[in-house]
Symmetry: C2
Subunit: 165 residues, 2 copies
DNA sequence: GGGGTGAGTTGCAAAAAGAAACCGACTCAC
DNA sequence: GTGAGTCGGTTTCTTTTTGCAACTCACCCC
């Protein structure tokens, strides 16, 4: 029986293993793109304005071969784009595409969790609304009821993209 | 200059490399706990109600030694707890602690990104508000202005937990 | 005693990560 | 136009991590 904190998915426990596949699970699909030891840290830096190879390498302490590899994959997958920021000599920087920028939600969520459970003296970094300086909040809401929904009140069900064999 | 999609952090570009450290960055702190190839998939399954060793192993296709190792670490770090679900023979299952359940925000965000960028025929799974059946929405809002804030309007600044040397 | 199940260990080969040296195009100071 | 320096990577080699298969252990049912 699902406890109060579990997302109740009793609806669909008839399906077997293949739920894992990227096709059938958007979490798996996402992790296939950003789910390794370095990629999210690279993206965090790009969000913060660190966009050049050398800066990233120094800031993260990542091996250069791995950084080169990860950046190439992120470009290939449309999360970053490699654009020249000067000619003579040509130098490139890595920018977020719209798809990359759309990961901010996830980064904010991960940061929030770290803040709540590991920042004993308060958050090391606070995200604020540029216009008014107020710390922002992330929430899960029901648009119909117009109220916040906590994890125990969420149910999942198969969506239109699910192939039902 | 930060483009419209970048979170502007020009405030604090004076600091050097060590921002990476888990102490100084809550994203790094979070990734230190859940940032490997399998952990988030394990947690996704636990959220969905898959809680036993054998079920997890079959559903994910993960090697048993890795599953044992990841579960032990998650228990050690207070994300899951191992509770007997029957005596004679004693069998255990893994449940989310409050800390683990609090990761739902992040899982929802990752799922949302996968839905938006990889689910060509629509989301494979839809999360709905249990009470009314409406699909839920996740948003970043400014509590003062009481309006949604998009990534380009977010600024970051050092918080109280930042050690400023 | 024999067979089955759940929840793991152990051992070993293959893949990925990490460190460090190397490379090539270019600039700038002299 | 030569030497030193920078940026953005490759190459090579060593160390960790994975992944797979076989094995164990406690218990249950017959």
């Amino acid at each position: 029986m699902a406890g109060p904190d579990q997302i109740d998915t009793t609806v669909d426990r008839t399906r077997p293993a293949s739920d894992l596949d990227a096709d059938a699970c958007s979490i798996a699909a996402t992790l296939a793109v950003i789910g390794d030891r370095w990629t999210l840290l690279i993206l965090r830096d790009v969000f913060r304005g660190v966009r050049r190879f050398g800066q990233l390498q120094e800031d993260l302490g990542i091996a250069k071969n791995l950084l080169a590899d990860r950046l190439a994959k992120l470009v290939e997958r449309g999360v970053l784009e490699r654009v020249p920021y000067q000619e003579r000599p040509v130098r490139y920087e890595y920018r977020l595409t719209a798809k990359g920028a759309d990961l901010s939600t996830a980064l904010i969520a991960l940061m929030g969790w770290g803040d709540r459970w590991y920042a004993k003296d308060g958050a090391p970094t606070v995200l604020i609304h540029q216009a008014c300086g107020t710390p922002i909040e992330q929430s899960v809401r029901c648009p119909r009821c117009d109220e916040p929904v906590n994890p125990g009140k969420i149910k999942s069900r198969p969506g239109p993209g699910r192939s039902t064999p």
